[in-house]
Every structure is written in structure tokens, then in C-alpha cells.
């Protein structure tokens, strides 16, 4: 088992043993419903979930990955533990999914920084230990790179769609793949999300803590508002579109051309900008303002008078975005999909 320092617990709270931690600090869960000082942690937990639900990454009070005061650290860890308790109390799987994803993103940032921190060997060691303990990949630092066995790399990279992740596009030597810190962390993104979400799913469901009922209700309302956007994938979409949605849902990077195709296609099917925007939330470089701006631009609702049409199948083929199947039935544009039936 990993021995975590104080800062590490704040950065990677999902590694800490929740119950132990509370006990160590002399608290019990029920106190959070009533103790006015602990209230601050409850608020923070709520904030943490809301941020995640909105598809963003929670910014902690850590400065340079360090807790300035002990109570800051405590609140970081408490708020994470409480957030899980609250989510369990709502029983909403949408919240689990979004929270796990956002927390994974957050941890990813720290892992990447720790790996890239050339001056602090213990940070690098810890990050590599985490990757080993959680995902059973042994990575070793070699100059500016992290190396791992080709077989481990392949086990994770095969789920990626971008050509960049093909083994041929990596430096390979002596049975090892060489990766930069950011690629190393990218490689385990999905597993990190799965790990956190399974931790939440497997945690026992607590009984309601008196004093927190209102907050739980508020979260249920938020979650219910979110749910409809997830019904967006239906069987009537052509393979290229399904694939693009798939990539985004996995939190992988969809090239700009792919986003353009997806947005224009959905707009052509009468979806609104507000309906489409959440789809891009999982993208690694998501920025809600920019996304809305771009979508509005495509839809022709902001300033420019032109609306953009979905690119032709031929064009998409050249962009590696076409995943043609029999169902495509010789159409020339994805927007014709399913309409040509006799």
C-alpha cells in the first residue's frame, strides 16, 4: 500500500482510506450535518460536485500542489470524502460518472506535473508508484521520457482511435515505449476515471445524515437536469457520427475536423446549440465559452449569416473520419443517413 504524504492526500484523495482518515482526525460522518465549522467542508463538497456536473474541473485551494495550512489540506480531503457520501445519497449515476471524470482530470493534472518535475525525484517516484499500484504499469524515467514495456503500452493504447497513438508513431527501443509525461498520463486517463468511479460505486451507501437532506435534494435536481443530454446517441446516426460521439464520451481527443462534422450534423438534425454543447464536455481541452462561441458560429446564430453544412462522405473519408458500413447505402452526405430507405 502506498504511504501518502499530507500533500499527496489532498492531490489524490481517492487513494486515501476515507474512514481511517476521518477517524484519525477524530470525526464521524454525522458531525458534518451539524457542526458549524465542518459546514465549510460540506459547502466545498457541494461546490466540488456542482463543478464536476457542469463538466469542469474543480480548482482546489492548493498552491503549487501544496497545502499551505493543515486545515486547508483537511478540507480538501474532507470535501472529497463528503462529495462521495453526498453522491451516494442522491443515488444518481449521472453524478457518479461526471464526478469521477472531473476528479480524474484533476488528478491527471497533478500526475503530469509530478512526472514532469525534473527537480523532485520523490514526486516522480510517487507518481510512478501510483501508476504501478493502480494500473500495474511499470514506468521508469529515462532522461526526459518515461519508458514502459511495449506490451503494457499496447494494452492501453488499443482503445484510442487517433493514429498518433499507434505504436508506429512512438519511439520504440529494446522492448520499451518512450513517452512524455503528458502522454504517459493520457494513456491511463480512462482507467483513472474508471478507478475513481468504481471506488464510488463500491463504497457502502451511508444512511441519511441529518442536516444534509436539503443539499442532497438540490443535487438530485441538478442531476435530473443533466440526464436528458445523455440520450443523444440513438441508433439513427451514421457510423461516423456514432464514432465521434464515442470518442468524446471516452474523454478522448476528437480532431477539430471531427468536432466540426459532429456539430454540423447534429445542427442539421435540428438539435440546438444548448443540446449539443455538453457532448464536448469530456474533451481534454474543453472550454465552455469557446465551445458555445464556436457552435453558435456554426449554427449561424452569432453574427455571421452563413450556416455550415455537414461535410460530404468523400471529404470525411480523406479526414479519416468515415467508418462506412452497409447501412450507409451509398449516400453522399451523413445527413442523408437513414432517409434513403425505400
Amino acid at each position: 500500500m502506498l504511504v501518502l504524504g499530507q500533500d499527496e492526500k489532498a492531490k489524490y484523495p481517492f487513494l486515501a482510506d476515507a474512514g481511517e482518515y476521518l477517524k484519525d482526525k477524530g470525526f464521524s460522518l454525522t458531525q458534518f450535518g451539524s457542526d458549524p465549522v465542518l459546514k465549510l467542508s460540506v459547502e466545498k463538497a457541494l461546490h466540488r460536485i456542482k463543478v464536476a456536473a457542469a463538466g469542469e474541473v474543480y480548482k482546489s485551494d492548493l498552491i503549487d500542489g501544496q497545502a499551505s495550512k493543515d486545515y486547508v489540506l483537511e478540507r480538501e480531503v474532507f470535501s472529497f470524502l463528503l462529495a462521495i457520501v453526498l453522491i451516494k445519497l442522491t443515488g444518481m449515476s449521472t453524478l457518479v460518472k461526471r464526478f469521477a471524470l472531473a476528479e480524474a482530470r484533476r488528478a491527471e493534472n497533478y500526475l503530469e506535473k509530478d512526472l514532469g518535475n525534473a527537480s523532485n525525484k520523490s514526486k516522480i517516484d510517487l507518481a510512478t508508484r501510483i501508476i504501478y499500484d493502480l494500473f500495474n504499469i511499470e514506468i521508469i524515467k529515462e532522461n526526459d521520457f518515461f519508458v514502459m514495456p511495449v506490451s503494457d503500452y499496447l494494452k492501453h493504447s488499443v482503445t484510442f482511435h487517433e493514429r498518433e497513438w499507434k505504436l508506429i508513431n512512438r519511439h520504440v527501443e529494446n522492448g520499451k515505449v518512450f513517452l512524455t509525461p503528458d502522454k504517459t498520463v493520457r494513456l491511463i486517463r480512462k482507467e483513472l476515471g474508471n478507478y475513481i468511479s468504481s471506488k464510488i460505486t463500491n463504497a457502502p451507501k451511508p444512511s441519511m445524515i441529518p442536516g444534509l437532506e436539503k443539499i442532497v435534494d438540490e443535487l438530485i435536481t441538478i442531476s435530473k437536469k443533466l440526464t436528458p443530454t445523455y440520450t443523444i446517441t440513438t441508433g439513427e446516426y451514421p457510423p461516423c457520427i456514432k464514432h465521434a460521439i464515442d470518442v468524446l464520451e471516452k474523454g478522448e481527443n476528437l480532431p477539430h475536423s471531427g468536432r466540426f462534422m459532429l456539430a454540423t450534423f447534429l445542427l442539421s438534425r435540428g438539435q440546438t446549440v444548448q443540446q449539443i454543447a455538453p457532448l464536448f464536455k469530456n474533451a481534454p481541452d474543453y472550454n465552455s465559452r469557446v465551445t458555445l462561441y464556436q457552435l453558435n458560429h456554426l449554427a449561424g446564430t452569432s453574427g455571421s449569416a452563413t450556416t455550415y453544412a455537414c461535410p460530404s462522405c468523400e471529404k470525411l473519408k480523406t479526414q479519416d473520419l468515415c467508418f462506412i458500413t452497409k447501412e450507409c447505402d451509398n449516400i453522399i452526405n451523413p445527413s442523408q443517413f437513414g432517409k434513403k430507405r425505400k
Partner: protein, 374 residues
């Protein structure tokens, strides 16, 4: 194939297995393998057989007089169960290099066509000269050029296996397939447990498929000369340099050209380079983790030659070294419009002639359906 021919082949094969059983290495972890065999003139494939040890393997040969014997590269908990109940554990990594896939210009010169309708045998044709049918079966005869080109691919492959993929030389075995190619086996590697998808990524790597311009220094925006690969680099960067720049003195000039021609032209360059430096393996063979392969040391019934371990691939001459049937003369009726060499002896061309030739040559022709016992 008629009874007399079958009897002849069965007898010759039996003698080989009786005298040369030591050429069949007992597969590692025999009880975990799936075995299979076929008999002459039977389309039935006996599969899902499990054997305890070398003794049982020997028995399989003696009791069945098989035309071909196979063994899985996979290890299973229950090798004799149906495929989805076998409980796959791991599999050796296998590569297939076949002269047929190289499609060299010499190929038509040593290929004969057998008409499925009227049995007419001619030099390489796409239509029967006698009955105009286009249902023709092609048979390729020994060719040194084809074999040498296959050897080059084997050497390219082993270089990548050792230097890029970190496989110990001792864990690589090269076998002549018994017909026109090589099977390269990799044992005890980090890849044993990989599934089909992951193996297909290895295949793309080895074949140099799916490379993007950025990997070899060409950027879409603001490309610059400093990012291009150089000769002394390991892996594909170094091999790419040798192929594209040729010599150190030309490197700078060629980089200027590449930059001038731009990104999409570079993509074409990569495709072209792939043809040259990618290793020509059969991707499906490596990806398939449930396949059974001709058992090393057994005879290939397409030729009567042995699937033989090559210890020195450069010196290896399959049409001499892997030819183990005896040289007792046999009378056959042969039609083989192309001349060929076995055991350093020239044979043919035969034009529907009754001839007396050594057993190994007779077996070769009968296996290729170009002769029958007279």
C-alpha cells in the same frame, strides 16, 4: 487423387516419420496445446486434439498416417474443448512470410496452371488453353529468387524483433514453412498474453503501417528542418533516414525538398517508404490467437518438403536441406512445363511423359498434382 498416389505418399511420409522423428521437436508445454491433422483425400479437419507428451504425438503419426499435422501457438486450459470453452491462456507470437505475398516479377515464370474443368496443365495462364475455363489452380515451383527475397524479409523482421521489441535472440526460431515461405516463432516474450487487437498493432508497427508525418519530423504548421530523423537513431527513425536520405551528404538537400513539397506530399512519401522498408508479413496470421500451425518437423503435403528449423538462414537452401524423402526411383506420368531443382538436381520440363525419378521428386510432383504414379 487416386488410391495409388495416396498409398505412395502415405508410405513415403511414414518412412520419413519412422526414420526422422527426431526432427520433430516436442512442443513446449505439450498438454496445453491444441493439435490437429488431416488425411489424404479427406476434407475433414481433425481438430481440438490434446496430447500428453511426445509419445502420444508419435502415436498420432503412426496411427493416422496424416497428410498434415498442426499445433496451436496458443496454450489452453482445455485444449480439446470446443473453441469458446478452451480457456485461452497465452500464445507464442508467430509471423508468416510467404513468397506468394511478395509477388515478384519472376513469379509467372515458375508458376503452372491446372484447369479445374479439364485438368489441362500449362505454363502460367489465366484461362485454360484447351477449354477456355477460367477456374484454374496455380502451383508455384521452386525459385531461388523468391526464396532469397523471403529471406530478406525474415532478416528485416528479426532485426526489428531484437532491436525494437527487445526479444532475446534465443527466443526466436525461424522455420521454413515446407513450401514457399518462413514461419518465425517468438517464445517467452512480453507479448505472450496479448490479444488479437494488440497483436494487430504490433503487425502495423512491423509493416510500417499507419505512420503520421509528425512522427518523422514533418509538421503541419511551421515545419522545421531540425525535427527530421537522422541515421544514428534507433528504430524506424534510423531506418527511415537510410531509406529516404540514402547518404549523409544528401540528407540536407532531401529535407529541403520534403519541406518544399509539404505535408500531404510527405504522407505519400510515407506510404511509398512503407512498401520498401515495412516487413511483408501476413497480418492475419499474427493477429489470430487461436490458429493451428503446421507442426515443426512435419511434412507439408503441398510439396513433400519438411517444415524445418533454419539455424543459418543465409546458407539455408530449402530445396536441398528440407528434402528428406528417399531417392529410390519411381515411375510416374508427369506434366510439368517448368523446369525445377531439388537436391541440386534438375528436373523437367515434362510433357505428359512416363519417367523414372527419385521418390522425393515424384512426391513433390504428385503433391503439386503434376504427376501420378505410372
Amino acid at each position: 487423387m487416386n488410391e495409388i498416389n495416396i498409398k505412395f505418399l502415405e508410405d513415403s511420409f511414414k518412412k520419413y516419420y519412422f526414420n526422422h522423428f527426431e526432427l520433430i521437436p516436442i512442443p513446449q508445454r505439450t498438454p496445453e496445446r491444441e493439435f490437429g491433422f488431416q488425411k489424404f483425400n479427406s476434407s475433414f479437419f481433425n481438430r481440438h486434439i490434446s496430447l500428453k507428451d511426445g509419445k502420444e504425438l508419435r502415436l498420432l503419426f503412426m496411427q493416422n498416417t496424416p497428410s498434415d499435422v498442426y499445433c496451436s501457438n496458443a496454450y489452453y486450459a482445455f485444449p480439446n474443448s470446443p473453441m469458446n470453452e478452451k480457456d485461452w491462456k497465452e500464445a507464442d507470437l508467430i509471423f508468416d512470410i510467404d513468397a506468394k505475398d511478395l509477388d515478384l516479377p519472376c513469379r509467372p515464370n515458375h508458376t503452372v496452371s491446372i484447369c479445374n474443368q479439364c485438368s489441362e496443365i500449362t505454363k502460367n495462364n489465366n484461362q485454360c488453353t484447351k477449354c477456355n475455363s477460367n477456374k484454374l489452380e496455380k502451383k508455384s515451383l521452386p525459385c531461388k529468387t523468391c526464396m532469397n527475397a523471403s529471406k530478406v524479409e525474415v532478416k528485416k523482421l528479426t532485426e526489428i524483433l531484437i532491436n525494437d521489441l527487445g526479444i532475446e535472440k534465443e527466443n526466436i526460431q525461424i522455420y521454413f514453412s515446407g513450401n514457399e515461405g518462413f514461419h518465425v516463432y517468438v517464445f517467452n516474450s512480453q507479448f505472450q498474453k496479448l490479444g488479437s487487437k494488440e497483436r494487430s498493432e504490433l503487425v502495423d508497427y512491423i509493416m510500417f503501417r499507419g505512420a503520421i508525418p509528425e512522427t518523422f519530423g514533418m509538421k503541419k504548421f511551421k515545419p522545421n528542418r531540425s525535427s527530421f530523423p537522422d541515421f544514428n537513431q534507433n528504430g524506424w527513425n534510423g531506418r527511415f533516414s537510410k531509406q529516404v536520405f540514402g547518404s549523409k551528404s544528401k540528407r540536407s538537400k532531401i529535407i529541403s525538398e520534403l519541406l518544399e513539397n509539404g505535408y500531404s506530399s510527405f504522407q505519400k512519401t510515407l506510404e511509398h517508404v512503407s512498401e520498401e522498408i515495412g516487413v511483408k508479413i501476413d497480418p492475419n496470421v499474427t493477429m489470430d490467437i487461436h490458429r493451428i500451425f503446421r507442426l515443426p518437423g512435419s511434412i507439408n503435403s503441398k510439396s513433400g518438403l519438411t517444415k524445418l528449423l533454419c539455424t543459418d538462414i543465409t546458407k539455408f537452401d530449402p530445396y536441398n536441406d528440407a528434402c528428406f524423402l528417399n531417392d529410390e526411383p519411381v515411375e510416374v506420368l508427369a506434366t510439368c512445363p517448368v523446369e525445377f531443382k531439388l537436391k541440386n538436381k534438375k528436373f523437367g520440363p515434362f510433357l505428359n511423359e512416363k519417367i523414372s525419378i527419385p521418390t522425393y521428386a515424384a512426391a513433390y510432383l504428385i503433391c503439386k498434382k503434376l504427376a501420378t504414379i505410372a
